[in-house]
């Protein structure tokens, strides 16, 4: 069964360092998303992406964050200068169509900022 894959599964970094989280969405999906979940809290929307452009971003997604689809398969989230409060589980998701609540999530990348 097709699935969204994310790497790394866990990354530990020092505050101020750059981090890139990688995702391979399901191959025939056109809509891509990043969400994050701080430990024990609810899942929060970060950004949506379609046709090589950001469709919408949340207040969390400030200038330190960026997304890119560098090739036909990868979708990346970059945090330029990590802060302690960026520590969270980051989930990539994709969907076939735009107006759907059925998103396919990856297993997440846990980011720990020290």
């Amino acid at each position: 069964e097709p699935e969204v894959t994310q790497t790394p599964s866990h990354q530990v970094t020092q505050m101020g360092q750059e981090v890139i989280l990688r995702c391979v969405p399901i191959s025939n999906h056109l809509y891509f998303y990043w969400y994050r979940q701080i430990l024990g809290q609810k899942v929060e929307f970060l950004v949506s992406f379609y046709n090589n452009e950001i469709s919408e971003k949340s207040e969390i997604f400030d200038d330190q964050f960026s997304v890119e689809r560098p090739d036909g398969s990868n979708f990346t989230l970059k945090i330029r200068s990590t802060k302690l409060e960026d520590s969270a589980m980051y989930f990539c998701a994709s969907s076939v169509i735009s107006n759907t609540g059925e998103l396919f999530f990856g297993e997440g990348s846990r980011l720990t900022v020290l």
């Binding site: 735009s98 609540g101 059925e102």
Partner: protein
């Protein structure tokens, strides 16, 4: 402000019993709701969705009920199994014209006793 939230943090049920997980929302304009399941160490997994033109929708062993009058949503799981143990989230989908955006409520942990 607008919010989607769950009534109880944990629910413990006996294997074989039916489970009911409740969710309240505050925005009367909300028209599309989804239930997600998150198993330990995994990303959210779509269970079932319902749009506001319906008040009930059934899937395999699951039923979602929507009461727009009191802004209440519930997920019923029939014959609960150990594999149903997970955190359950209700979410609202907002379609921005380009992409969907899910606003998740706080999760409720379902624990199934053997």
């Amino acid at each position: 402000g607008e919010s989607v939230g769950l009534h109880l943090p944990t629910l413990s049920v006996q294997e074989g019993d039916n489970s009911i997980i409740n969710c309240a929302y505050s925005n009367s304009a909300s028209d599309y709701f989804i239930w997600y399941k998150q198993e330990s160490g995994k990303g959210p997994q779509f269970i079932i969705d319902i749009r506001s033109n319906m008040d009930k929708r059934q899937g395999q062993r699951v039923t979602v009920l929507l009461n727009k009058t009191v802004k209440h949503l519930s997920l019923q799981i029939a014959a609960t199994q150990p594999g149903d143990s997970a955190v359950y989230f209700c979410a609202e989908n907002t379609y921005t014209g380009a992409n969907s955006k899910l606003t998740f409520g706080k999760g409720i942990t379902l624990s199934v006793r053997p």
